[in-house]
């Protein structure tokens, strides 16, 4: 696909355009949050607890989305909290993609014992519901962000390995691969210079679908108290903390809930857009 064709398809896909703009905005807000957040996200003031949202009536210095049970400004916590979710989801998606791709290429390229071992292990892995595995492992290892990232990587690599493997098997016996072998390229060289570029499209499609899912899983685990540890302003923790105030101060959970939904929706729009743009079947 030429670069022009790529840009043309990007512009044509509504999902891609909306998703890309939203994701870009979210990343910018998240990166700038320590400087643009209206208040300090961890300064509590019990005199100001559970204040209803001011909206923009008091401008930037008011509590635009209200305050939480500790009197902390919700909007500021949301903005800073987005860093946690984004950092985890980017780390997890890229690390998982790397591990899954290497295993998928090895599996598809070598076949035989390597393939059997990797694929049978992936069969076992997918037989354990990811959320249950994550809950159990986090309970055993203890909840901190590093363990959370490890668990999320461990429960999603199969996805990538399988997609990459089936793609590799499709091109394994192509003539240019044989030609490269005949010319004396090492196996590693063939895998990473000939095969990897050819599975990249499928890889990007899978990755683009995973950001939103990872953010959702992370927030669910944090909600259960098995994800990001409590004092950090993570969206899942904010929702959990607001639970008792559902009837009296619903904004405490509606604000992080809405933020979570907008972020996940943005990544899912982008994911669908990326698929529309890159999937060769999708010409109509």
């Amino acid at each position: 696909m030429s670069r022009q064709e790529l840009f043309r398809r990007m512009r044509k896909s509504n999902f891609f355009v909306i998703g890309a703009i939203l994701v870009f905005l979210i990343i910018v807000i998240s990166l700038l949050s320590p400087w643009i957040a209206p208040h300090n996200p961890t300064t509590s003031n019990l005199l100001l607890r559970l204040q209803a949202p001011d909206g923009f009536s008091k401008g930037w210095s008011g509590h635009i989305l209200g305050t939480d049970p500790l009197g902390q400004d919700i909007l500021s916590r949301l903005m800073v909290g987005s860093r946690v979710s984004l950092r985890i989801s980017f780390t997890v998606v890229f690390a998982t993609a790397m591990i899954g791709t290497v295993l998928g290429i090895v599996s598809g390229f070598f076949g035989g014992v390597a393939d059997t071992v990797i694929m049978r292990f992936s069969d076992i892995q997918v037989s354990i519901p990811p959320m249950i595995l994550a809950v159990a492992v986090m309970a055993v290892l203890g909840n901190n962000t590093t363990n959370l990232i490890i668990v999320l990587i461990f429960s999603r690599w199969v996805q990538y390995a399988r997609v990459v493997r089936s793609n590799v098997m499709g091109i394994r016996n192509m003539e240019y691969i044989h030609a490269s072998e005949v010319l004396g390229s090492s196996k590693a060289r063939i895998m990473f210079t000939q095969i990897l570029p050819n599975v990249l499209t499928q890889l990007i499609i899978v990755m683009s679908q995973e950001f939103g899912r990872t953010i959702l899983t992370e927030s669910s685990l944090s909600f259960l108290g098995l994800g990001v540890p409590a004092p950090a302003p993570s969206w899942g923790v904010m929702i959990a903390d607001g639970r008792e105030y559902l009837a009296t101060a619903p904004w405490v959970i509606i604000a992080p809930g809405a933020a979570l939904m907008i972020a996940v929706l943005a990544f899912n729009f982008l994911g669908d857009g990326v698929r529309d743009v890159l999937d060769p079947k999708n010409k109509n």
């Binding site: 354990i128 990811p130 959320m131 939103g212 939904m261």
Partner: protein
Amino acid sequence: MKGDKILLKFILKRLGYTIFVLLGVSILSFGLLKLTPGSPARLMLSDDATEEQIKEKEIEMGLDKPLMTQYLSYMSGVVRGDLGDSLFYKMPNSKLIFQRLPATAYLTLVAMGIALLIGIPVGIIAGVKRGTAIDFTAMVFGLLGQSISGVVLGLIFILFFAVKLGWLPAMGYGGFEYVIMPATSLAMQMAALISRMLRSGMADVLQEDYITATYAKGISSKEINLKYALRNAILPVITIVGLQVGTFLGGAVVTEQIFGWPGIGTLTVQAIGLRDFPLVQSILLVISACFVLVNLLVDIIYTLVDPRMDFN
């Protein structure tokens, strides 16, 4: 009958595979317990137990033996239905789990029903009307459904239908009115997924030559859509539904927690809070086994439904 023999062979092969996977799951869940910080013997005894008492307990529990021996004795218990005892409840894990299993099964089955009831019609209509405003609306619904967290949806349901309107009970377990909110909030993601898959499946099938040929025969488009296209488009949906049962069971942990539903999910969260690791591990094993067996069932149903399926 040759066909029956091939089918039987396929089912046997699939059974063998299932046993292999279950063994793998058992090794993983056994290994998880070994990762637990501190000796399980220490967890079982009171805090003021002496080192000697702990040593004694370890020997009693067989913790001084090699790992392989420990695994084998654990497995010989598992196949007899003995999953060990809960540290906190001081009763068999299997009993605790099977007391809670019906509530979770009830919740997930109702949720599955709701997901199919929403997902199938939306998927069919969007697939048939591809490219129209209806299709676009359905796709946005699908993306929304996949993007909203079950936690948030559940809490919003409680806020509106229980707190504000007072139509449904906010939490607890009882008649049908109790299951509506948890099941619906659990079902949303699955409904969205089914509708999206069915939409693209329908749209693909409707472009096939044999559908054009059927049109040429003068059969009405309604009949074609429902009788010919749907039958083919629904097959991948069956597989996905089977595979997603795992996600469903995982989602149930959170949903049960929100709605105070007395199922496996609530038991898991309690067990974690109490640091009752043998119970957590047994839950992992039982849930995974259920999931594997559901998929075995789905595969067998699939084979029976799809005449094109080859048994290799």
